[in-house]
């Protein structure tokens, strides 16, 4: 009879096991938020590609040039300031003029115009006998040839803002622009994440964006006097848009749970109906008769940050807490992971599913209101193909279309990956057709990475 082996090998295998325990906390992070590294990589890549000479403009640049002049010429400086008539350049010139006179120098003339205006001004100066000691220009006006053609200005020392090198992509204005444009997609993607986590899909969100914008704008135009509407009317109007979409989402949920229709079909139907309804209500045209206060949500800023971004951050914070810290969030994952086990564990499946589709509708409605506020109109053509971009964000963010696996913050990362790629391609002058090809490839790569992460294409389900 063979003898039974001793336990010496068991201890050895335990030692082997402990080696893996340090990676234990890192692993889930990489699993859930691995796409963050992709996003950071993209940011780095586009920063390198768009690293160019920057010409400062505006108030800061104006004050900076004023200080340069004072340093070299002191209070006896007499300055001729020339720039274009754009808002930025006016800010530049007027800030410089104020700064110079504050510091005791005299400003002979401020020109905001084209080269012709500059020549007139120079001629007037020389006729009146005033000889400037310094010429203040910016990057654009410094290249005008009028200064070399006139004896008055030919030998003048010219001052312009100091240039520096910085990636176009990483300029604050660009980053805020990217975030602002992504906000609407990202907000809708929260609801889509929930829906996909339950193993469903919501194709109706794009049409609901249009419906919400039309419903809100229509109410404001027809019942609140359009541009003359008050703040109360704006709030009610926005709520009407959002609630309309929430009801549509609830309809999705009821059809899916009570009537047991597949989510794909139900939401496809609602997508067509909502779009048709939006066109019908709006009479096929855009509705621009909106009050100023309506534009605050999509176009205004708070603390220097555009409101849509703040709204997006707030909603993601709430969604994160809901999905990771509440019973409802746990139920959503449970339903997507194994609906039968969830039901037999006492999870109220139907109310949860209806709730999830209502949230998705509600956020699509909110997205519609923000978008119409941003674009200052209600329009049935808004939101076209949004559902695809939003689904792409969710999938790129690592949520499994089979349900039960994924994170809301992953979706935020996914939305930004897509936005950064689009913006980066715009900055590097890649045309729209090629952009589409790249985005499609990105989507496929993301899903492929996701399957690799789960053990490759050869691995079957673990028993």
């Amino acid at each position: 009879m063979p003898s039974m082996p001793e336990g010496s090998n068991a201890g050895e295998s335990k030692k082997r096991a402990s080696r893996f325990s340090t990676a234990r906390w890192l692993q889930p992070f990489v699993r859930d938020y691995g796409m963050l590294f992709v996003l950071l990589g993209l940011i780095g890549w586009f920063s390198v590609l768009t690293y160019t000479e920057q010409h400062p403009t505006g108030v800061d640049a104006g004050q900076q040039v004023a200080r340069q002049i004072m340093q070299q010429q002191g209070a006896k400086a007499r300055v001729l300031i020339v720039a274009r008539p754009t808002a930025e350049d006016v800010a530049f010139t007027s800030a410089m003029a104020t700064e110079l006179s504050d510091l005791g120098a005299s400003v002979l003339r401020v020109v905001n115009g084209d080269p012709k205006a500059a020549r007139l001004a120079i001629e007037e100066l020389s006729e009146s006998g005033k000889q400037p000691t310094a010429l203040a220009v910016n990057d654009v006006s410094s290249r005008w040839s009028v200064f070399a053609q006139s004896a008055t200005t030919r030998d003048l020392p010219s001052f312009k803002p100091r240039t520096y090198y910085w990636p176009n992509f990483l300029k604050l204005s660009n980053l805020l622009g990217v975030a602002n444009q992504t906000a609407v997609y990202a907000i809708i993607a929260i609801g889509m994440t929930l829906v996909i986590l339950t193993g469903g899909i919501d194709l109706s969100v794009g049409s609901l964006v249009a419906l919400a914008s039309v419903a809100s704008a229509l109410y404001l135009r027809d019942y609140q006097g359009g541009a003359a509407a008050g703040l109360g009317g704006v709030v009610v109007g926005s709520l009407i848009g959002i609630v309309t979409c929430m009801v549509a989402g609830g309809f999705n949920g009821v059809m899916i749970t009570m009537f047991r229709l597949p989510p794909f079909i139900v939401t496809l139907g609602v997508m067509l109906m909502a779009s048709g309804l939006a066109f019908r209500l709006a009479g096929g045209a855009s509705i621009p008769e909106l009050p100023r206060s309506y534009f605050w949500l999509g176009g205004g800023t708070s603390y220097g940050i555009p409101n849509p971004i703040l709204l997006m951050v707030l909603l993601y914070a709430v969604a994160y807490v809901v999905m990771s810290r509440t019973v409802f969030g746990r139920y959503v994952y449970a339903i997507g992971s194994n609906p039968e086990a969830a039901r037999l564990s006492g999870v109220p499946i139907n109310p949860c599913l209806i709730g999830v589709y209502m949230i998705s509708g509600c956020l699509a409605g909110l997205g519609g209101v923000v978008l119409s506020s941003m674009l200052q109109a209600g329009d049935p053509k808004f939101g076209l193909m949004y559902e695809l971009e939003v689904i792409a964000s969710v999938v790129v963010g690592g949520t499994s279309l089979a349900g039960g696996r994924g994170k809301v913050l992953g979706t935020l990362i996914g939305a930004f990956i897509i936005a950064v790629i689009k913006n980066g391609m715009n900055l590097t002058n890649i045309d729209a057709f090629n952009q589409k090809i790249v985005l499609g490839a990105v989507l496929l790569t993301a899903v492929w990475l996701d399957t690799l992460k789960r053990g490759g294409w050869t691995a079957k389900s673990n028993r």
Binding site: M1, P2, S3, M4, P5, N9, A10, E12, S13, R16, A17, F20, S21, R24, P28, R325, T326, V327, F328, R330, Y331, Y333, A334, S337, N338, E340, A341, A342, R343, L344, S345, G346, V347, P348, G404, R405, T458, A459, K460, S461, N462, R463
Partner: protein
Amino acid sequence: MPDSLTQQMAPQPLLKMCEVSKSFPGVQALYQVQLTVQRGEIHALLGENGAGKSTLIKILGGVHQPDCGTIEIDGRAVAFSSPRAALDAGIGIIYQEFNLAPTLTATENLFLGQERSTWGFLQRRREHDRAQKFFARLGVPIPLDVPCSELSVAQQQIVEIAKALSREARLLVMDEPTTALTPAEVDRLMDVIGELRAQGLGVIYISHRLDEIQRIADQATILRDGQCVGTLKRSEMNRQTIIEWMVGRQIENEFPKQATVLGATRLEVKNLCRGVAVRDVSFHVRAGEVLGITGLVGAGRTETARLIFGADRRDEGSIHLDGRTLKIRNPRDAIRAGICLLTEDRKHQGLMLDRSVQENFGLPNLKEFSIGGFLCQRHERIAWSGYRDQLQIKVPHAETLATHLSGGNQQKVVLAKWLQANASVVMFDEPTRGIDVGAKYEIYLLVNQLAQAGKAIIVISSELPEVLGISDRILVMHDGRISGELLEPRQATQQQIMQLAVG
């Protein structure tokens, strides 16, 4: 002449696995395992859940690659880089969950991936004839033109075996082939396996049912904690030795039944009906009582439990707990009322495989682990660790996904979640199916504990020794009705039950 003589004297074994080791992150699954199978031999592979049987089989099937060690087939060293390579080498594996396309017919499944065709058109007649030949070889007639989903489990299994044979398998591996079969079907499967042995195939047979092993196996290799404990010849195989080798300690009594004081009637059901599956079922369970319900597969046992639990809607009937009439429309109502059901199919009905064990544990108990809809994950974790220690659940940490646990540990997670729910009626549906002797014993102890705590227990089981061993009273079902009641399981026999079960 001397050459052929030596070949006859010492033939190369069909399969020889030498010092095979395999580790996964955090686990040494196999450590220097040996396994030799001759032609025409039925070799049983035994071990508790998590002992490494599945890993060994997956290495043999090319799903996993061993870290070290050699595999020889007919004396030639082989290395399987993929399941395909193993298949080509003549190894046919029939997993516990079948790999059949449910909407295709038996014939279509049989030739899936190796269709006979001319210019892309199927030779349906030839396939049909060949399929018939295969099933004739197995001695089992199978309806060839019916979707596989409409075949019985036993028939599907025969299709799987035929599929392996059609690929010229010389070594057949069967993982728990009898778990879902009725006794008659088991007998027929044994005949089929015996026939394959006579035809010179090697068979590796994995099962927890020791009587089956003793019946057909020529040799038995026993694994424990990923290591080979040893190989028994047919003459050495007795129940006691096998169990000792599997669990590494002695078990004196397989069924540790303790007498409990029975209290008042807790659960009473009257006239439960649902279609033809459950017809007019009435019974009661007292506090502290373990009621065994048995019968053949399809007799309506599981369906009855599902009606009580609200998982299916009942046509008629009422459910009373402690004298109160309960309104149960869905499982949520049942759980709230204090009734829980441990389903027989834990992978599809009991667990969320791709969620963490802690989440699985918490799911029915979130009311307890939350305040105003917000989770208290700390409470949940503390409660979970309590059960983890009490039930000795082997799991690296609370975030481990349920899919990564062995069958016995998965069952314990399901147990823990329902223990936490602290129900007054606990229904177990096949609680020990597919789990090993040691874990079975622990579950029996737990059933005792629950009974002693004054709960009403219902155990549905097809294993007659188990039903006889742990119940205070036994109901036998046949064709949706209760066909008999045994008040004294101590004095009852398996024959008595079978007579009631066949109607």
